[in-house]
């Protein structure tokens, strides 16, 4: 057992943290080695300097900690109340209901319309005139057929005898000009 090994174990020896056998070995070495015993004594002094450090008194008591704890608890209990409230109203059932209503509305406005139109157009044995008597959906605003978009004007017809167009063909004075209105104006001005 050399001095280097012993000196690496001196603190553990000082703290009684070695096994019985190793403790005895270190002890017998220190008794016969001046260098190691001096090193040991210095470490022992250092330990006593640390152990005798006075207990530091805080400037204030635990009131600040207790106050912060109270604040934290208040916040936590408020969160708990909100959670319990949500639990009692069964928010997930409400969400499921809202989702079901949403799906129904969407289906009614798009899928049902497409299906009804397809049904009327293709698979009906005796086709009912489209748009003439049946609205495919309550939610669908009827769009004008291409033949209703505007009344075709014969090219060789004179200007003065231009057909009387529907009133909704002429844009209102305060409205933004529509494509049809502009097109119509351009068409008649350049005849």
């Amino acid at each position: 057992m050399n001095c280097r090994y012993v000196q690496s174990r001196l603190s553990a020896y000082l703290d009684m943290e070695l096994t019985g056998h190793e403790h005895q070995l270190i002890r017998s070495h220190i008794e016969n080695c001046i260098e190691c015993s001096t090193e040991f004594e210095r470490l022992r002094r250092m330990k006593h300097l640390l152990r005798q450090l006075p207990v530091v008194q805080p400037s204030q008591g635990p009131e600040a900690v207790l106050a912060r704890l109270r604040t934290q608890r208040t916040a936590v209990s408020q969160t708990a109340v909100i959670r319990v409230g949500w639990r009692s109203t069964r928010w997930w059932q409400m969400a499921a209901g809202a989702a079901a209503v949403g799906v129904f509305l969407w289906w009614n406005s798009t899928v049902a319309e497409t299906r009804s139109e397809a049904t009327f157009a293709a698979s009906s044995p005796a086709p009912i005139p489209f748009r003439s008597s049946i609205e495919p959906s309550l939610f669908r605003k009827p769009s004008p057929l291409p033949s209703e978009m505007f009344t075709p004007v014969p090219f060789n017809q004179p200007v003065f005898s231009s057909p009387i167009l529907p009133t909704n063909y002429y844009p209102a004075a305060n409205s933004t000009p529509s494509f049809e209105g502009l097109y119509h104006t351009f068409y008649f001005q350049n005849r």
Binding site: L10, D15, S37, V55, P58
Partner: protein
């Protein structure tokens, strides 16, 4: 509010009271540890508060059969080392720094490793308290924590290893090297303190 919620609330109330009692009882000891780690009153108060608040957050994990001081010391040392690494503003000695061995002289033989301090040593300890604290602040945080837990708080190596999440071998090494570094720092300022003649 359901019955379960009421029972939970009452249980929480009891736990809160128990924790408040522990805060009141251990505040000074916890503060003392915080002061020895941080070296000043302001940081010590902050560290103490943070340690108690974290302990409260995880109070359901506390095993009442174990000493509360050990548990909160573990929380505090982890908190402190994390915070120290984050800041990295205090000057420390490198862990890898080497120290030379001093020349030895004649020594008395010791029957037991630690016979206890003499009145002279106690008087000196109070006299040199500031120098010791100053020296502690120059150690690496891991060394300082290990030395403070062992020598100031009086914990065993096994307890310190558990608190610092490391092995007993590492704790032994940190305490030994920490003490040696601290002794060399103090010896530079007060060479007479570790002279052989003064030891007798």
């Amino acid at each position: 509010m359901t019955h379960t919620a009421i029972a939970h609330s009452m249980e929480q109330e009891l736990l809160d009271r128990e924790f408040d009692a522990l805060v009141t009882r251990y505040y000074q000891q916890v503060y003392n540890l915080a002061y020895r780690l941080t070296g000043n009153a302001a940081d010590a108060e902050d560290l103490t508060q943070e340690a108690f608040l974290r302990a409260y957050r995880f109070f359901d994990r506390y095993d009442p059969t174990m000493p509360f001081m050990n548990w909160i010391s573990r929380i505090m040392t982890n908190l402190y080392i994390d915070e120290y690494r984050r800041r990295k503003r205090l000057p420390t000695l490198s862990i890898e720094e080497r120290f030379e061995n001093e020349e030895g002289e004649e020594s008395e033989q010791l029957d037991i490793p630690d016979p206890g301090p003499s009145p002279l040593e106690i008087a000196e300890a109070n006299q040199y308290a500031d120098a010791v604290q100053e020296g502690l602040m120059r150690l690496a945080p891991e060394f300082r924590t290990a030395v403070v837990l062992a020598d100031v708080m009086g914990h065993s190596y096994e307890e310190i290893a558990e608190m610092m999440n490391t092995s007993i071998g590492t704790v032994r090494s940190r305490i030994h090297r920490g003490r040696k570094q601290l002794r060399d720092i103090i010896q530079k300022k007060y060479p007479e303190l570790f002279e052989r003649g003064d030891l007798k």
